[in-house]
Amino acid sequence: MRHVPALLLLLMVAYVLFLTMAEAPAFGVVDVPSRNLVVDRYLDPDPEETGVPNAVARIIFDYRAHDTLGEATVLFVAVGAAAAVLVGRPGPFATRPVTGTDDPILRTVARLVIPFVQVYAVYVITHGHVSPGGGFAGGTILGGSFVLYLFVFGPGRAARKLSPARGEMVEGLTALWYILVGLGGLLLGASFLANAAAGFPLGVPGKLLSGGAIWLIGLGIGLKVAATVANLFLHLAGES
């Protein structure tokens, strides 16, 4: 019965939103208001402005790179606040769910798989500007390989590979790298986070080393996300 106000509220929201959807612009049509001059420039087939063919990478690392700085900051805030909470004194109901395993099959398979996962992650990070993927997805995969190591070999051995203090340092430095690239644009006479306008070499579109600041930022983001994921799971697994 105490849910009645919440249900009434939800019914109201549902009614308004469904009515809204019924008269919204049609789905799957080219002729919608959101397809305007803004998107046309992002989709310019000639990549001379940014030097990369992936339009999503153009937006997140160049046209709207300031949002991505904010996004990386949100990740930093969340994991920093989580770490600050998790290092607190353990309470009476504390448990440690991750202890690693002695199963030789699991250990051998993990040893075999982890290098391949890492190579794939580096590929995804470094090719974010020419193909789908990029820093956030690739960094997660790289961090994921560390999480696999953590689950198989236990938090103690994982912390010897990357201690929480070292992880925090990598996080801070890679986040600073983003700001430094941005300030580079500023010092080269253009604006904060400028790419071509500041004279970063764009290279040949479609090649690995191209896109100037886009490539540099993507690399930093990949490392940062990997360190963040590794650090977060290390803390959550109870190692501090």
Binding site: T73, V74, G80, L176, F192, L193
Partner: protein
């Protein structure tokens, strides 16, 4: 370098925050935070000097022109808010240097300084944003950082309050993001100026869409700024946080949501777009509810910080009242009240923090007779209480006076009555504390010794004197804010 100040206002605290976990682990974090906040304050004041004449600083991040790239704008309002916020921040950061290490687990102290700077970056990001999605991203930065400086105190009640705050913040974020999706769907723009240009057309073609969008964005930001009845998270969060965090949360963080709404309602949702939707009336009704109920709840509290937190609900109501009336005097009063309340409530929470730091007790009854041991702090608390009630020569009087005038200009004498009634209620819960503090007899006197470390006493005294100065000579901010209100209302 001057032309890059709008972006540096956000980037400098960010850089400081990223540096702290790298270099600030061994006790250097506090000094790094202080330096960063001081430099940010300098940047904000410089911009205030440039924009005070009515000039608007525009900045293209990445050199991309507006509809494609992100634009930042700093007008006189933005610069004034950024300056006062950074000033309060500096006082709180100095104060926190002695308070925080004793309150927290030593392993997480460096994160406190980092989160403090991230919160500042988030606030400045929202104040300077001129792009809807950019606004959302920095709203999330400051929301998460605000939870972070609550939950970092290793106590059950802080954790519980932070979880409640974060879950409601997530609901608010969902509302805002869905609102952004709806508005992008019908206009194709995210830049506020371009949105404003497209929106009348969109409102004709897709009226329901635009109305739902306005409702969602208003609800989201009202939830983040604790407009009654969406304030349920505030008392727990603000009273269970460490005292410097409470000062920042009550003084600054709840205001940021209001600033975002003021920006949206004066640049985007103007004229015909919201003519069909009675948002201002709705805001006034909710504001009156907040003013009355916040005061009533504050009267029943026995914990000093909880009482101050409920008083914030009332004060947020005042600001929304002035904003909802949408006339020049009332808006000037509301904007002035944002600044005044930021100074006052931070100062009061720091006083409470110093009482707790010195005596280890936090109930109102334990404040009796404390003036004998802490005369300076008690004097400052008295000034704050007087300003909260709205007694002349304090800055609280000036903003309340303008709010009352604004209600009369708007032809709503009943609302003027509400403000006066609530002043009466405030005096009922503030003055007993002051009277008992000066003339009561302490049940158990605190250990003898000085009033407190100078780095904790002087920030309080500085803010209190500023409250008096702004109460006696309010002309400078008033003239500036009067111009701002005229510009915002398009007159």
């Amino acid at each position: 370098m001057l032309k890059h100040l709008p972006v540096l206002l956000t980037v400098m605290p960010l850089a400081g925050a990223f540096l702290v976990p790298v270099f600030g682990r061994s006790g250097r974090g506090h000094r790094m935070a202080l330096v960063t906040v001081a430099v940010t304050l300098l940047a904000a004041v410089t911009m205030l000097g440039i924009t005070a004449g009515g000039e608007v600083l525009r900045y293209r991040v990445g050199d991309w022109p507006p509809p494609w790239g992100i634009e930042l704008r700093v007008d006189a309002l933005g610069a004034l808010l950024a300056s006062f916020f950074a000033l309060v921040y500096l006082a709180v950061t100095i104060f926190a240097g002695r308070d925080i290490p004793g309150e927290l687990n030593p392993a997480s102290v460096h994160w406190y300084w980092s989160l403090l700077l991230l919160l500042l970056a988030g606030i400045n990001g929202v104040v300077t944003a001129h792009d809807l999605f950019n606004l959302f991203v920095f709203t999330e930065v400051f929301s998460l950082a605000a939870c972070g400086i609550i939950s970092i105190r290793d106590r059950l009640d802080s954790l519980e309050a932070a979880i409640k705050y974060l879950i409601l913040s997530a609901v608010a974020a969902g509302c805002i993001l869905l609102g952004i999706a709806l508005v992008y769907m019908v206009t194709g723009h995210l830049n506020l100026s371009y949105l404003a240009a497209e929106l009348p057309m969109a409102a004709r073609l897709y009226p329901k869409n635009v109305l739902a969008m306005v409702a969602l964005l208003t609800t989201g930001f009202a939830l983040k700024s604790a407009l009654f009845p969406l304030h349920v998270w505030l008392p727990d969060a603000h009273s269970s946080a460490p005292s410097p965090s409470s000062a920042l949360l009550s003084g600054l963080v709840v205001k940021v949501g209001i600033v975002a709404l003021i920006r949206l309602f004066t640049t985007v949702f103007t004229g015909p777009v919201i003519a069909a939707l009675p948002v201002p009336v709705f805001m006034i009704v909710m504001a009156v509810g907040g003013i009355i109920f916040g005061a009533l709840f504050a009267m029943t509290q026995r914990d000093l910080k909880r009482m101050l937190a409920y008083s914030t609900v009332t004060q947020v109501g005042y600001i929304y009242l002035g904003f909802g009336l949408l006339n020049e005097t009332a808006l000037t009063g509301a904007l002035l009240h944002i600044i005044n309340h930021a100074l006052l409530k931070s100062m009061l929470f720091m006083c409470a923090g110093l009482f707790i730091h010195r005596t280890g007790k936090r109930r109102i009854a334990d404040m009796a007779g404390l003036a004998r041991h802490m005369p300076l702090t008690m004097s400052c608390f008295t000034i704050g209480a007087m300003a909260m009630v709205g007694i002349p020569v304090t800055n609280g009087f000036v903003s309340k006076w303008h709010l009352v005038l604004g209600t009369l200009h708007g032809g709503q004498p009943l609302l003027a009555g509400v403000i006066l009634l609530s002043s009466l209620l405030s005096s009922i819960y503030y003055f007993p504390v002051v009277v008992a503090g000066w003339f009561g007899h302490p049940a158990s006197p605190p250990p003898p010794g000085p009033e407190g470390p100078p780095s904790m006493v002087w920030p309080i005294v500085a803010l209190a004197s500023l409250c008096l100065i702004l109460g006696v000579w309010p002309h400078l901010p008033l003239r500036l804010l009067g111009d701002v209100a005229r510009t915002l209302l398009g007159r």
